[in-house]
């Protein structure tokens, strides 16, 4: 049997993406650890609301946690942004703050202009469209 590949999950929602994510951060962390993942990114939609809990359980279980967010841009583009360091974490937090600040409670708006703002050191995953 060939050796299992190394793998880190870079796009994962917890139930802090309200009414989409169907598992608690702790369930995700424990499962990812049991499956031997290298790391797990929690990328709740335009939100860091669940990251502190995830951080706590990841530390407890000895799993590397990556912090990011899934963003639906207005023109249809969907992205995942990942923080590589404190600076990029701050850029993402600021982007979420801007996006949430211009919408009513519970909603957000991201335009292409927002992506022109400083996002130094952020890693971006462009998500595939379902139909190629």
């Amino acid at each position: 049997m060939p050796a299992l590949p190394t793998y880190s999950e870079l796009h994962c929602l917890s139930n802090f993406t309200f009414l989409r994510g169907a598992s608690h951060a702790e369930e995700l962390v424990v499962r990812a650890k049991a499956l031997g993942y290298g790391a797990l990114a929690i990328t709740d939609e335009c939100s860091f609301a669940g990251v502190v809990r995830a951080h706590g359980v990841a530390r407890q279980h000895g799993l590397k946690l990556i912090i990011g967010t899934e963003i639906q841009v207005e023109d249809g583009l969907k992205l995942v942004l990942l923080a590589t360091n404190r600076e990029s974490y701050g850029h993402i937090a600021a982007l979420i703050t801007r996006a949430r600040g211009r919408a009513a409670k519970g909603r957000y708006r991201v335009t292409m202009d927002d992506l022109e703002q400083n996002l130094d050191h952020c890693l971006v995953l462009l998500l595939q469209d379902r139909a190629p």
Binding site: L4, P5, T6, Y7, S8, E9, L10, H11, C12, L13, N15, F16, F18, L19, R20, G21, A22, S23, H24, E27, V30, R31, A32, L35, Y37, G38, A39, A41, S47, F48, A49, G50, V51, V52, R53, H55, K64, L65, I66, I67, L82, A83, T84, R86, S88, Y89, G90, H91, A93, I96, T97, R98, R100, G101, A104, K105, Y108, L126, Q128, P132
Partner: protein
Amino acid sequence: MHGANDNALLDALRERSAASGLPLVAAGDVHMHVRSRKPSQDTLTAIRLNTTLAAAGHALQPNAERHLRSRAALARIYPPELLAETQCIADRCDFSLDVLRYEYPHELTPPGKTAALYLRELTFEGLARRYPHGTSAHVLQQIEHELLLLSELQYEHFVLTVYDVVKFARAQNILCQGRGSAANSAVCYALGITEVDPARMSMLFERFVSRERDEPPDIDVDFEHQRREEVIQYIYSKYGRDRAALAATVITYRSKSALRDVGRALGFDNALLDRLARSMSWWDGRKAIPECMQEAGLNLQAGINKLLFLLINLIVGFPRHLSQHVGGFIISQGPLGRLVPIENAAMPERSVIQWDKDDLEALGLLKVDVLALGMLTAIRRTLNSVSTLRVSPLTMQKILDRGDDKAVYEMIQRADTIGVFQIESRAQMTMLPRLRPEKFYDLVIEVAIVRPGPIQGGMVHPYLRRRQGLEPVTYPSEAVRAVLERTLGVPIFQEQVMQLAIVAAGFTPGEADQLRRSMAAWKKKGGLEHFHPRLLSGMLERGYTREFAEQIYQQICGFGEYGFPESHSASFALLAYVSSWLKHYEPAAFLAALLNSQPMGFYSASQLVQDAQRHGVEVRAADVTVSDWECTLESRDDGAAAVRLGLCMIRGLPEATALRIVCGRSPKSYDTIDDLARRAIINQSDLQRLAHAGALEALAGHRRNAHWLAAGTQAQPQLLQDAPIYESTPQLPSPTEGQDIAADYMSTGLTLGRHPLALLRPRLKRMKMVTAADLAMLTDGDYVRAAGIVTCRQRPGTASGVVFVTLEDETGYINVVIWSHLVEKQRRELLGARLMGVEGKLQREGEVIHLVARRLADHSGLLLTLQKSERDVIPFHPHTG
């Protein structure tokens, strides 16, 4: 990749990647940790789209692949290089929340000074104000100790920020007072943040701030509840929305909300869901769901019902949305949004960060709690109205400076404490005659000792036994005596346990604080055991017996959960004393202030008015010819003050209308209802409200006449205002007393007439019901019947299913104890009755009387008979709890 056509998709992506130079990477778009969570995920989707699972169709994910898949499964789906790339990306991410640091604003420190120096200056200015005759060496020593620690941990900016908020409130004449562990700080006292005097109370600063603790302190400050918004807006305007925001509160699904949402998604009928939700009471956890479902006629074995139950269980506890914390502020030196995202709250002009208080604590971030306390409003209002009649204004400080007042304590010992702070609750009231507080420190103990759990569960507190002389008071050493003497050898406060660990077992203050923290959580998390050997050896070394050491350890374990910080108790005891003093010496002003501060406290307006009347306060009805918007004081011929109810007491009357009525009275008051309606421009429905409340009686005689006249009156356009319409008034029979009282309750929530139960008494007597006053004459063990209006239902989480109900009749209150088996059997009567009848056994201990229920009855129907023959019968709702 999760489905069919993945190969074609992959080819297309590879082409794009080659063209753009961007690498391809595998990613799971994970929505759940395991495949079996798919039904929940579908249900959540249906809830999100506000539809049913059956109708959601394509909106649901086509398969259950978006879970954390095994690496073997991934290897079958993705090419190796896409999997390897995930690890390359993960390796580039080198960020942990542990590195987050943030600083409180620096601008409060004047240029050229360090924060430490400025804090020191302010502290000493404060000391000069607090102690005009000089500060004691003991307090100075404490101050130096605190300043050193605050500076070492760099908390100066934090304390200065809180000081600035409190200074603003003082300048605006908003009463405020710190609570919680900050009251262990002499610096906070000097700065006016807290009110507990270190010269009078022993303090343990480490309960507030300690070197060893890896968590920051909170400073909680209470403000007058009606003016807290001014404080909040001050913070926003001073620091801006990008530097100040409230902490979030995560709202999670509870049984009821999960039932509604899941039920709707599964296509259950709304009426059925309403019925199910109603049959759940607030104390039922999720375990009650099967019983409730069965009660509603749902067969739990049927597939769809079973699914409903399973899904509810899965979703309970899921976060649903973010709300705002009651008052926890985060204020930062730099842009806060780079530390944690900020979002809009539901309330306009409010913004919240995306983390709640547990998150902040976990990361060691400090918050300031700007809390609202109704009693501060009531105290401020009483002081203000009393001060207008005095040469120099009355303040809290002046009341406290007079020292313990015997008459006030006698009132407290009688449990005559309706309306005062903290010691007015039913549980507190049953303790007061036993504890018999006679000095300030007794109140500190009283506030702490009445906690849910051991006492209400029936156990008599060992402190009480000692106070009543039923148990000897001994100390194993002088050092221990110094710690425990103030509580007769029984540790009551968290600070005492900390001090015990310090003096008897050689802990450092910081270690003692760690012990205290483990103590609070050990039942849930454990973690107290490793202190055991340390405590034991420490105490043996210092010459204590093993027996005593074990006893102390057991005491720590035993009271860990219920232990109360002494500093917090002392802060609350100050308010309890001041409000008691005001109730005793200024009952009319205190009542008016309480009514104007509603809603607050344990009692309804009606109960407060009745209580004041029993103490000889004259309460006058709301009257359009004299009432203001708020309740006011009027002088009586004998010089005493009477309370005039304000127009604010009339349910549904807009403030603007009331203000027009008040302004329109000068230069000349109203002669007729017509005159009132024209000059104050009052519409028909508001006139009816005034008539219904009896506020037109000065103009129209009795209430029914007022109704008739009001009905024939229209607010006129400006031109016609001076042209009255004359119409003769037919003579209407005056309403019965019962109708008057019922109308009072409906309109203002209280009656100045007789209590409704006084009217029903002949019938209740025939039913062999005794009054609350009668109960005091009976002996322990008597079997009795009584009835009263339900004013309060309580189910302490720790009292093993017991429910406490308070009934009110025309003579006072009846405390009913309902054991859990009866709660289950007579749930409907218990939850539904507004007028409850109880049959049971009298239990008395000294002046404390309980009625232990055997049977309950719902007599609410009797209340309806009070208003019979009223043309349009409106349901009668007295203040039920």
